[in-house]
Amino acid sequence: MKKHLGCFSLPVAVAIGATLAASSAFAQTVDTARIEAAGQNDWLTYHGSYKSHHYSPLAQINTGNVGNLGVAWMHFPGRSTRGVQSMPLVADGVLYYTGSYSRTFALNGATGELVWNYFPELDEALVKRQTHSPYNRGVALGEGKVYVGTVDGRLIALDAKTGRVAWDTKLIDSQKLTVGFTGAPLYAKGLVIIGAQGGEWPGRGPIFAIEAATGKKKWEFLTVAGTEEAMKTWGGDSWRTGGGGGWMPGTYDSETNTILWGTANPAPLYDWSGADYKTQGARPGDNLYTSSVIGLDIDTGKLKFYHQELPHDAWDFDSSVGEFVMLERDGQKLIVHPNKGGFIFVYDRNLAVKNVWRLVQNINFVKDIDPKTGALIGRRDFPAGKVTDPPLCPFIGGGISWNAGSYSPKTGLYYKIGQEWCMTLDIQKTTPVTTPQAQLNIGADFKMAPPPGGEIYGHLDARDPVTGVKKWEVRYPEPPLGSVLSTAGNLVFVPDSRGIIHAYDAETGTELWNHNNGTGHQGGIVSYSVGGKQYIAVTAGFGGMLADEYAPNFGGIYKSMPRDDGALIVFSLK
């Protein structure tokens, strides 16, 4: 095997057999049933399990001893352009995670020793031309392989034992469309599902299913005008450049044999249609299936059901953020899904609306959303010109961002980050640019602004996931951008933007422990167990589309915070 440690340009997997110290490593393959069962020692898929709880049933670390938590080991992925944003996965004592440029690592979960690494050769000339690049948000595991997407439009399968490439499938013409893959894939039922970046990029936002065994594409669903019904909701040629996409992983519902996915916003972000958006503006109509949650038959990719959370989204408050939290209440099987606009939607398992509640205070893009039907009430549709009084709330970063919340079956509470901020705009007519390479299509100049009569802040809420009733809240001067973890030890962990990781009592919100990781968080956090010992793993490293707003708007520590650095930090009891 060619050994490769320094040069980025060669795609090489380095396996270090001697470090396979985790005795149970590779003891069993990861398959659909195992992910469904979500064994307590592992973290087998982005959202923890198909139920998307981001919860660990481990309780060795708990409210009584969390004060003794300390750093067990660290790992530096290197070349961390725009920070470290991935969600680590763990199977049988081996931790898998990614850094920027889809640099992929398998590490001994107890010691951090390298098992193997894989640095794909990317189209570096393309990466230099991309805006939303080159961060990566994680891998999927299944059938003895590790799956990772790339910003130049490929999905790659690696042998989980060695890191050797099993297959490498090009799915998107990123050289022309500019977008690729930054989100983690989802493994289910012999397929690897991954959605493209999109939103403000003129394209049609595909979601792909690839055969895990062969790397062959099985189906593709276009989130922009992907059915005859949807085509009728895009006036003129606007469907050709409608945006869409599905850049964060959804989940799989085995009971209905359905892939559940949240879709991105349409382009341009801000339409100048005014109230006549059905017939005027950049993209007349409801613009299906953007800013929607969709259910696709996993075997065929055919649409089974959907709910468009924001018909004709004119504010960039899409549905691709967040998790599909599955739970039961009063005999009903429900799904809880956050929308970027700051609302939480509650659905049945066929995505019929059961309730809608507000996580965020500062919302004025609509007056409200009907909790029974999901219909928007009092929407603000802007003509070309300035939007300043009042500013649009929330800010383009959303009332909710893509960082995951956590649901604890033990407390029955949903722990979720809310963001209170607004923006001024000058909406302008734009024309999508598609050649020689697609360019962003925003549709406005904009700037962050404080909420009317208040200040910008973020908050962790502990709420009933179905009713939205709040039990407690913790506030932060700047919105945290990292994901949240709850555990059976009655703990909630929040890695914040300043670099502090906090542990709270899950019942009361009392802070019990914190630790300074030295740089801002905007990635994942998980818990797992190796050899009977519980670990907490979190990625640190700031930078990117939202984090880059922090230095000019908040100053302070963010002015000197690196945006090309980061690490994986793993904690255990001392």
């Binding site: 352009t81 031309r129 805006t131 006036g235 040629d237 503006g281 024309t431 299509n441 707003e549 945006r563």
Partner: protein
């Protein structure tokens, strides 16, 4: 105050001709970037550059404020063409030299918004 760029930003024949409607309602069409034509830089900022350079380049956002930039034209030209890893994409293959010069003129003419 009108921006100088508004004067130079004549909507090119390409941009105007692109508004071909395939349906009964108005909608924007897929449009190639102009090869040699002039560029509406105001629109370009609202579509692309302003995602990072807030308020049309008048305020810092994800990218720096461009109004009153202390950088010289050579620096701006190089940065627009080649970008900066992890901070700004390069646009040298998307726009012609003449169009990039128009962007620099726009930046130099930036003034605070009225009202």
């Amino acid at each position: 105050m009108k921006l100088q760029s508004k004067k130079i930003a004549l909507l090119s024949a390409m941009l105007g001709a692109s508004l071909a409607y395939a349906g009964p309602v108005q909608a924007q069409s897929a449009t190639p970037a102009p090869d040699n034509g002039t560029l509406d830089v105001v629109q370009l900022f609202a579509g692309t550059c302003g995602f990072c350079h807030s308020s049309g380049g008048r305020a810092a956002g994800r990218g720096p404020q461009l109004m009153n930039s202390p950088r010289d034209d050579d620096f701006l030209r190089d940065r627009i063409k080649n970008g900066k890893e992890g901070a700004m994409p390069g646009f040298g293959e998307a726009f012609t030299d003449a169009q990039i010069e128009q962007m620099i003129k726009y930046i130099r003419a930036l003034k605070p918004r009225e009202g």
